[in-house]
Symmetry: C2
Subunit: 255 residues, 2 copies
């Protein structure tokens, strides 16, 4: 039919409703009407009516003790029906858990979406010190191991993408030069794995490899990440092997 990326906002109420839902986060689990209204720059009564409506629909739940609002179980219910990659997550889960058993470090499963990496799933490692990542969120391509893997294997025109995306500096290690990033992607294509050496957060190291389906198409990427203190050269080599082993297992479960 039409281009998939040119859909426009045609109903402002619905847009506002999801703007409100986006105000909530892991830290801000409970918000008030006024608080939300200020945050999104909308009239208080508009926000109230939106919240009241979504409360009636179980999308939002008001805390009767203080009148503040939280995200409701309807969202939980709807998420269960999100078919895209749902099978993927559940099928990959045991292999991801096995990976964490072997490597000991937190593993992530991500896909390529809108020139970003999208975290689909996460299995936490056995150490106390852990990366604070969030399933369902996005990260830039240029400063993450998963992102660089995507550029190398899921994006046929990675040079064009690199020319167009913003190589924002996040840490002192972030690759911000197009030429350097293109070189790095070519190396990843050759060697089959990507590293993030504190390029996204100081102290955080990550190893990532692509996941191919039976037809050889890169459908996802998996990674192992943890503090730099636990990621020296030898360990990175071990983790790379662990990851490739798991990626190969995943290949076989997708016909």
């Amino acid at each position: 039919m039409d281009n998939a990326e040119d859909k426009k906002i045609l109903n402002t109420s619905v847009e506002k409703a999801f703007k409100i839902l986006d105000c909530f986060s892991m830290e801000k689990i409970e918000l008030g009407v006024t608080e939300i209204a200020n945050q999104i720059g909308t009239n208080k009564s508009v926000v109230y009516r939106m919240l009241a409506t979504m409360d009636a629909l179980n999308v939002i739940q008001q805390n009767p003790e203080n009148g503040k609002y939280r995200l409701g179980l309807k969202l939980f219910e709807l998420s269960q029906k999100v078919s895209i990659h749902k099978n993927f997550i559940s099928k990959a889960k045991p292999y991801m858990e096995d990976l964490v058993k072997r490597a000991g470090e937190t593993a992530h499963l991500a896909i390529y979406k809108n020139q970003k990496v999208y975290f689909l799933d996460k299995v936490v490692g056995r150490h106390d010190l852990q990366i604070n990542s969030q399933i369902g969120t996005e990260k830039p391509l240029h400063c993450t191991g998963l992102g660089k893997v995507m550029l190398a294997f899921a994006e046929p025109h990675f040079e064009k993408v690199i020319d167009n995306i913003n190589l924002e500096r996040i840490t002192t290690n972030t690759i911000t030069q197009k030429i350097k990033l293109k070189q790095e992607i070519r190396r990843i294509k050759k060697e089959g794995f990507a590293l993030d050496l504190e390029e996204n957060e100081i102290g955080l190291v990550c190893v990532a490899v692509p996941v191919f389906d039976a037809k050889g198409k890169c459908i996802a990427a998996i990674s192992t990440s943890g503090p730099s203190a636990r990621f020296n050269k030898n360990e990175i080599q071990t983790y790379t092997g662990d990851l490739k082993y798991t990626a190969n297992q995943l290949k076989h479960i997708f016909s």
Copy 2:
């Protein structure tokens, strides 16, 4: 502030948007504009604009191959932030898995919500023949083991609730008489477990017990269910023990 249950729909667009989202299910993962419009009795162009808007927000995703729509990853993202009972699910998970390891049959974790049982989580058993339940959905109180446990332990005024709810007949075994159900609830209160002997679906049997927190408040219920062929008297007794053991474990992890 106000009564928590009297929130009204004050924005029809938002209501329509979620009505559209509710059209999707595990079976109907992909729907067209016209299809949805007919199902909810709304004009085609209204549905289109809603879908286009939600597509722009990643709530919906259009399949470029056939123009049809699916639920999008935004819902997945939002569900990760639903704080209510989120901790509960993840903390309870290993104990639920252990329960399934012992009993072998599918286990459910549910809460009491709006005079219904709300399925929070599920761990599938090891048999091929399995109950086809859906996380994030609701079931009536009167014809499920989980529901009857809720009436007995989570609802102080169960008699009043029973007087008010519709004891709809689902199977020939469904308890449809108020007096009989009240008797049954009293027995459950005494013995600490509920049975569903094909009262909700012929062939399906279920054993359920309450989960209390440290203060003794019933916060949830857990169950084991499977085909009647695998649930004779002895097995039911064993499963009841398994369930009570797990419920006791869960009690200790909630201060």
